[in-house]
Amino acid sequence: MSAGAGDRPASGANRGPGRGPGGMMGGGGPGGAMMRGPAEKAKDVKGTLKRLLPYLASRRMKLIVVFILAIASTVFSIVGPKIMGKAITKLADGFLAVVQYIYRLMYAINTNQPASAIEAARSAYIPQYDMQYIGRLLLLLAGLYVLSALLSFIMSYLMSGVSQNIVYDMRNQIKEKLDRLPLKYYDARTHGEILSRVTNDMDNIATTLQQSLTQLITSVATILGVLCMMFSISPLMTLIALVTLPLSVLFTLAVTKNSQKFYVGQQKAIGELNGHVEEMYTGHKAVKVFNHEEESIAHFQEINDRLYDVGWKAQFMSGLIQPALNFVSNLGYVFVCILGGVLVARRSIEVGDVQAFIQYMRTFTMPIVQTANIANILQGTIASAERVFEVLDEPEEKPETDHPVTLAHVDGHVEFEHVVFGYSSDNILMRDMNIEAKTGQTVAIVGPTGAGKTTMVNLLMRFYEVNGGQIKVDGVNITDMRRGDLRKIFGMVLQDTWLFNGTIFDNIKYGKWEAGEEQVYEAARAAHADHFIRGLPGGYQTILNEEASNISQGQRQLLTIARAILSDPAILILDEATSNVDTRTEVLIQKAMDNLMHERTSFVIAHRLSTIKNADLILVMSRGAIIEQGNHQQLMDVGGFYADLYNSQFAEEA
């Protein structure tokens, strides 16, 4: 890797939508929750779980209460059907008694028994439905249901705080960690990648904590409870239920396995499609002007057709599960009806038992499917947690020195002494860099891309640590200062015009938070930004939108310059600071800069040689080394690289 590290910030962040192939078909329709693409595999399940536990442990008491509530609520609701069955049995008993009474009476009449016998049968005790008993049962039942609902509510209520607060802590923890990570970490990955760990992965963990954990408890409790109840009604019928159980699990597994290839194919097609769309849309101008629309559309159709072919199959497969599970459960239902009917007819169980059993069968399928899912979900969550922990495990910046030196007054005398540096230890860029910038001097750095110009800034600001040698400011090694104190010395204007989502006023004020209103205006005027700012509909209170696209690139640059001016640093760093403004505006800014740079040590990196001609010292860099140095005249006299570069501007005139 060359010095490019500093040259490409922000590359990943504005990738825009369609970030990953996964974004497009998220849910995948009904039953989609049951079948996702291949589940992500965690590398070290045990280790990750072990690290997750402490987060839960600190909320131990609440969790235990939640567990107890979950089980209690489940138990209460499971007893329901059994009681209901009793009520129905009682009804049936009443019914059968009445039937018997009528049967006897009819029998007496039909067989022409003596009147006394008929009268006896008629006046026999007419069996009453025991509605009082049934009423008591139903009251009990209603009470249980209310209790169960209440407990389940309290459980979810308690859990909502627990899970969210855990995630809150984790997010803060990861943010603090990010603050301590060296820039090396940021330069090595896209922003999207880091972002996804703090948001998507965290969300994943939160959802699992909130839903899956309690679901797991209630599901397992339900399965066990229902099994017990079913067994108490009829072991034989329970057997039927247990036979249908593996059937549905097997079927789900088979479908999942078979549909996997469609899902993989679908993800691939989606990825390709998103990629093509993204590329063709962002390159719209080129597509149009090179008459490439037809090819582009043809290619799109091809991917789109492929997506359809594989997509509907995946969709259909996932759509199969619901009907199939339904069928299996209906099968169980039918067999229970038949077998129950036979058993009732033989008086070995009661009618109400059949009703209860049917209800148990119905409540059986859901928790089983859920438990099967939870395994998948947990795996994904652990993978997420693993990625979060990965960030937390990254090596941090070198800790601050124990006895930091603070400079009371900064003269701005900067020295590089035998500096050795490489972005990785096996790829050394700078071998022995020696530079001296005297107080008040302007040092310009020129050279081709990758020469290490931006690296100099990275080292000066201590974004990266040197591998050897030292950098001194006013004779103090910069590693002997606190980073904050060191950076206070410098003011920086970069090619990358970072502004945040807020008012223009606040963005300029960012340079010096304690600055007064007038100082902000002053800085804006010095940067020649005041005029355009006042021309904006909201003036200084105009809110820059997320991409700050409501002002031009050049205007953004003016704001960053104003920000630097406001911070009033002892040493200035200008890294291609005016590359985005047109040259007439640049002249204006240059004047402002000249005032700013007057009697201040400044480092200037520039493309346009005209802007650095007046520098006290020009360093020509190539591949991490300084190949020429001197002022403009000296370098022109040498007739080397710099002179060559300079003269090439006018090659055709000559």
Partner: protein, 575 residues
């Protein structure tokens, strides 16, 4: 939402078939409790075994038929939803490819991408669900009500109480939860924004020592999100228990009142049991429809966005009878051209006139926002002039077919747009049937040959999406080679030398000179040195032509030009 459903037309037959099949499924599902009540009433209580077996077999057949119907339905659903998605996606993509730059910029690339991918998928997903729930649930709901009425009209009164209760509570909860979800989404966005800013601005934040400030912002956003999320979760916590309670309450009520009716010999026990199952089926259907009502607004928003793309009128259209210029004379002419974006207060260009003939180089210079790029974009009809005429080879560009017009042009865009694929493929983008020699030659002229051949696989090196594995200057040179290989009549360089160092810039221009003898060259530039030797320099200031002529002429006559020169060149260079 309804508007976009026109794309369902080809699948109307599938929809109808689907409805039929869903009816079948509903009939099967609704008949099962009915048969069960037969088993209870006639079988169990009467001890009639054959009835139990006979009815049991009927139930089996019914369950199987239901399963088949439901599988067929999901087949239809998959075919039609994905087919619909494919068709809409295709329509949207083709439409966008036909967009002029005006429509394109109006919506923006990022938004167009979302609309073509995520938004359509969103609608497609709702369609799959919809087929199942929107169509099936009402069938079940109505069927269930009919069945339960047929079992016992009086008992059905219970539903009159429990269904409205269910609905009222659901609507009440939804009216609380849905806005809360919206707030939560906003808080999530806020957190993401804060985080993304602290990532993109990491250097600035550290340089200005604002880490604590950023952390505070993050913690605040995090706290906000957590609070809202907890609030939402707390509301959601009541949802399931309440629903379960209503269902269970209904069952209890059915058994109590049903029991009373049974005790008065007005109803049979089996019917009561069947009734309670119908009640469950009805309530579940209602719940499902409610879930759909939560889904639909999201799809609705997507549909609106997709429709906007489809309904957008393309400002730049081919004429009914396109003209072809009599000869290829490489002539570009502007006659009193003005351009304003629709609705804009001030025009971007005002009354521009000039002629650039074969072998001539016309340069356009001016400050940011002076309208340089817009002017160049009028030639390939990225936009159409609001007033005046742009002529190529003597014909108004509006009277030409866009394709044949653009075939004459080699355009090098400002941002150096490259595509994923090999270097070779990227240069070939300019001319599909270019030979290897032509590609190499173009690369040499564009000063790209050296660095390309130094890359691991030379011309077969893969370029990452957006050309991220190349430097800005390298990208620009490839993008120039792509235009050169076309060997066009008209070259347009839209600020295409900015990322080149002076040396490469000069070498490139020297090499180019030989290639373009018979072509017209339009160069948009910021650097004086890139255009000093042009035959004609147009100086733009806020959309007006404030000077035209050669470098030396303009130095004498044009104040703005002189200012630009002074800003870039030293005294001795000016002399």
């Amino acid at each position: 939402m309804i508007k976009i459903m026109r794309y369902l037309k080809p699948y109307l037959f599938l929809v109808l078939l689907g409805v039929v099949v869903l009816f079948g499924q509903a009939a099967a599902d609704l008949n099962l409790p009915n048969l069960m009540s037969d088993i209870v009433n006639q079988g169990m209580l009467q001890g009639d075994m054959p009835v139990i077996y006979r009815t049991g077999v009927k139930m089996l057949v019914m369950a199987f038929a239901g399963a088949v119907c439901s599988i067929v339905a999901s087949f239809f659903a998959a075919r039609l939803a994905l087919g619909f998605g494919r068709d809409v996606r295709s329509a949207v993509f083709s439409k966008v490819e036909a967009y002029s730059l005006y429509e394109y910029e109006k919506i923006g690339a990022a938004s167009l991408i979302t609309r073509t991918t995520n938004d359509i998928t969103q609608i497609q997903t709702v369609l799959v669900m919809g087929f199942r729930f929107i169509l099936y649930s009402p069938i079940m709901c109505v069927g269930g009500i009919v069945m339960s009425l047929s079992k016992d009209k009086h008992l059905a009164m219970i539903l009159l109480v429990s269904l409205p209760t269910l609905l009222v509570i659901m609507v009440g909860l939804a009216s609380m939860v849905v806005p809360a979800f919206t707030t939560m989404q906003k808080k999530i966005d806020q957190l993401n924004l804060t985080l993304r800013e602290s990532l993109t601005g990491i250097r600035v934040i550290r340089a200005f020592n604002r880490m604590d400030h950023e952390k505070e912002r993050f913690t605040q956003a995090n706290r906000d999100l957590t609070n809202v999320a907890i609030r939402v979760n707390k509301m959601m916590a009541s949802l399931m228990p309440i629903m379960t309670l209503i269902m269970n309450g209904t069952t209890v009520a059915i058994i109590w009142f049903g029991g009373l009716r049974v005790s008065r010999m007005q109803m049979q026990i089996g019917d009561m049991m069947a009734f309670s199952q119908y009640a469950m089926q009805i309530m579940f259907s209602v719940l499902m429809v409610a879930v759909m009502f939560v889904m639909i607004p999201r799809a609705q928003a997507s549909a609106v966005r997709v429709n906007e793309v489809l309904d957008m009128k393309t400002e730049v259209a081919d004429p009914a009878e396109p003209q072809t210029p009599p000869q290829q004379s490489a002539l570009v002419e502007f006659r009193g051209v003005s351009f304003a974006y629709p609705g804009a207060e001030r025009p971007v260009l005002r009354e521009i006139s000039f002629v650039s003939a074969a072998g001539e180089t016309t340069a356009i210079i001016g400050g940011t926002g002076s309208g340089k790029s817009t002017l160049a974009g009028l030639i390939p009809r990225f936009y159409d002039a609001t007033e005046g005429e742009v002529l190529v080879d003597g014909v108004n560009v509006k009277d030409m077919a866009q394709k044949s017009l653009r075939a004459k042009i080699g355009f090098v865009p400002q941002g150096a747009i490259l595509f994923s694929g090999t270097v070779n493929k990227n240069i070939r983008f300019g001319k599909k049937d270019a030979s290897e020699e032509e590609i190499e030659r173009a690369a040499r002229t564009a000063q790209a040959y050296d660095f390309v051949s130094q890359m691991p696989d030379g011309f077969e090196t893969e370029i990452a999406q957006g050309g991220t594995n190349l430097s800005g200057g390298q990208k620009q040179r490839l993008s120039i080679a792509r235009a050169i290989v076309r060997n066009p009549e008209i070259y347009i360089f839209d600020d295409s030398f900015s990322a080149l160092d002076f040396k490469t810039d000069a070498a490139l221009r020297a090499a180019l000179k030989k290639e373009i003898e018979n072509a017209t060259v339009i160069i948009v530039a910021q650097r004086i040195s890139s255009i000093m030797d042009a035959d004609r320099i147009l100086v733009l200031d806020e959309g007006r032509l404030v000077g035209a002529g050669t470098h030396l002429e303009l130095l004498q006559t044009c104040e703005v030009y002189r200012e630009i020169c002074v800003s870039q060149l030293s005294e001795e260079e000016l002399a």
